[in-house]
Symmetry: C2
């Protein structure tokens, strides 16, 4: 089993925390994880990708680098093994520090699109070999896009990004740090976001239902889809909730928000979609639909 | 008494809510308020300022305008009378919709600097007249700069803005929507912000102490200064707190955050600085120090 997850947001949206929360492990501090960093310059069309180091400068990359309005988007790849219900999952997280962080963010999505394409190309090359017994699937299976919880609208950059990637990978929009929003604000914000995405023609990943599904399964699958964009909260810290129980969450002077409580945020729906219910569907759609579409467009040229 | 307040932030940082909370009045919906909107294009050095309308299109200005990455920063001015302890205060709020909202925000602070300068120039013209008995003081007395609560660092744009205005008006930095941050996160975020500002040489407004102040007053004044940047929460909605009392705040499923509770956020310190304690000091520093410095630099040229 492998899952290649592209995670995109501006700095400070709780991206690393969310990834760690999803897999209940500090991926970024895992000594056994395999890392690589590609530095890319987005300033011209020949995006130069140079292999930089083993990713250890992630912490050092902030904040001085962004403070000097460095216009480079980095592609940071981290691979680690996750144990989920006794099954080993090879998780690869593709991170994109620098995205949206500069004063001028024109085209900052291009290095990310190039990365998605380059992974399709790697697969294409492997498929074209004589010996195809050991194809490694490095294609992006899902893109988690974190939206700033302003409670107003998607920003121009958000829409540009979604349009640039939605036909290349399964797009899962997420309202980051949703504990900043009241329930009413979440409801109206989600409605506005979905309106904007629909008007722009952006496709989101839709968990499929099957002929043999019973009605309860169909309802659960629809609920998973209808909760998008997921208004999540991330935390790997344990706090004591109102019932005195130790749970993952964030403790404020006025109360404790619980990560795994569906009444407090949509984290459990995101986790179910990504890991427990639709992992196979995400990989299948990548293989049967998104990759095929890329391949045929490439072969036509 | 008059107060000319420049309020700057990206869209969605709770700016309008904060202004309404400070004066306990919906300024933007006040039918007796006087409004004007200047549309400015920041794309070249001849910033064209055209008087557009009476500001009614504020709501309409979002989101379509920003969705089309309109690079215009608007200067929206709204003047209204505030009753504070039986005293009438003429409040003018200078708002800057469009700031920081585009994909490319290069120089988006320039129209704001021009606005501050143009108000200094208006005062200079009035001072140079023969009859000076009716000078109207439209100079900016304080600039509230709202910082996105990422919990990491100031963004490059934040630093550029602060450097562009700190010698022209009293700069008061504010961490917006601070209910997104735990107490520990607020403490470390404040420390990092102050470090960055100090290293960049940015001056913040410092409430002065006087020779005749008793030690309690000196302590209060120092506390006001030491709380900067103020981590605030804004709300004009009444909610029921844990003690069953109706207070201004935000109600979440996990608890109620109270605006006027110093244990929950720094709003009361900001309100004290701006309105109850340092209103005179802000105007005096503008008149004696900031305006004088502008005037002498202008006369030297
Ligand atoms: N309010 C809130 N804060 C969060 C959440 N997730 C992470 N944070 C905090 O946001 C800050 C930045 O988180 P981090 O994961 O480093 O963000 P990144 O820069 O996007 O990787 C940290 O102080 C986190 O504790 C969340 O769901 N809600
Ligand atoms: N969490 C939180 N939300 C806030 C706060 N102040 C305002 N909001 C919400 O943020 C949204 C945007 O507020 P608004 O004042 O319109 O922001 P503006 O675009 O900066 O003027 C609204 O849904 C407000 O209710 C705050 O202090 N904390």
């Amino acid at each position: 089993f492998n899952l290649n997850l592209l995670v995109v947001s501006e700095k400070g949206m709780g991206k690393s925390t969310l990834v760690n929360t999803l897999f209940n492990k500090n991926i970024y501090k895992d000594e056994n994880a395999v890392r690589s960093t590609l530095s890319t310059s987005k300033v011209n069309d020949n995006i130069e990708i140079k292999l930089e180091d083993n990713g250890e400068n992630r912490a050092a990359a902030y904040p001085e680098e962004s403070a000097e309005s460095n216009n480079d988007i980095k592609i940071e790849v981290i691979s680690t093994i996750i144990e989920e219900n006794g099954v080993a999952l090879k998780l690869t997280v593709v991170d994109t520090p620098g995205y949206g962080d500069a004063i001028d963010n024109t085209n900052c999505w291009e290095p990310i699109v190039k990365e998605i394409n380059s992974r399709f190309d790697q697969y294409l090359d492997q498929e074209n070999r004589i010996n195809r017994s050991n194809i490694e699937d490095n294609r992006i299976h899902a893109c988690l896009y974190l939206i700033e919880p302003t409670a107003h609208f998607l920003k121009p950059l958000d829409l540009q990004f979604c349009l640039a990637v939605h036909e290349k990978c399964n797009l899962i929009p997420i309202i980051a740090k949703s504990d900043i929003l009241t329930d009413e604000e979440i409801t109206s914000f989600k409605a506005r976001i979905l309106n904007q995405l629909t008007e722009a023609g952006v496709q989101l990943f839709r968990p499929p239902t099957y002929q043999f599904d019973d009605s309860e399964t169909i309802n659960l699958t629809n609920e998973l889809y209808n909760k998008m964009p997921y208004a999540v909260v991330g935390s790997t810290n344990l706090v004591t909730n109102a019932e005195g129980k130790q749970v993952r969450g964030r403790a404020y002077p006025w109360g404790v928000i619980e990560v795994d409580n569906a009444q407090h945020n949509d984290f459990v729906y995101l986790r179910d979609l990504l890991i427990r219910q639709c992992l196979e569907e995400l990989r299948e759609k990548t293989d049967n639909v998104l990759y095929e579409s890329y391949r045929s467009q490439k072969l036509i040229k």
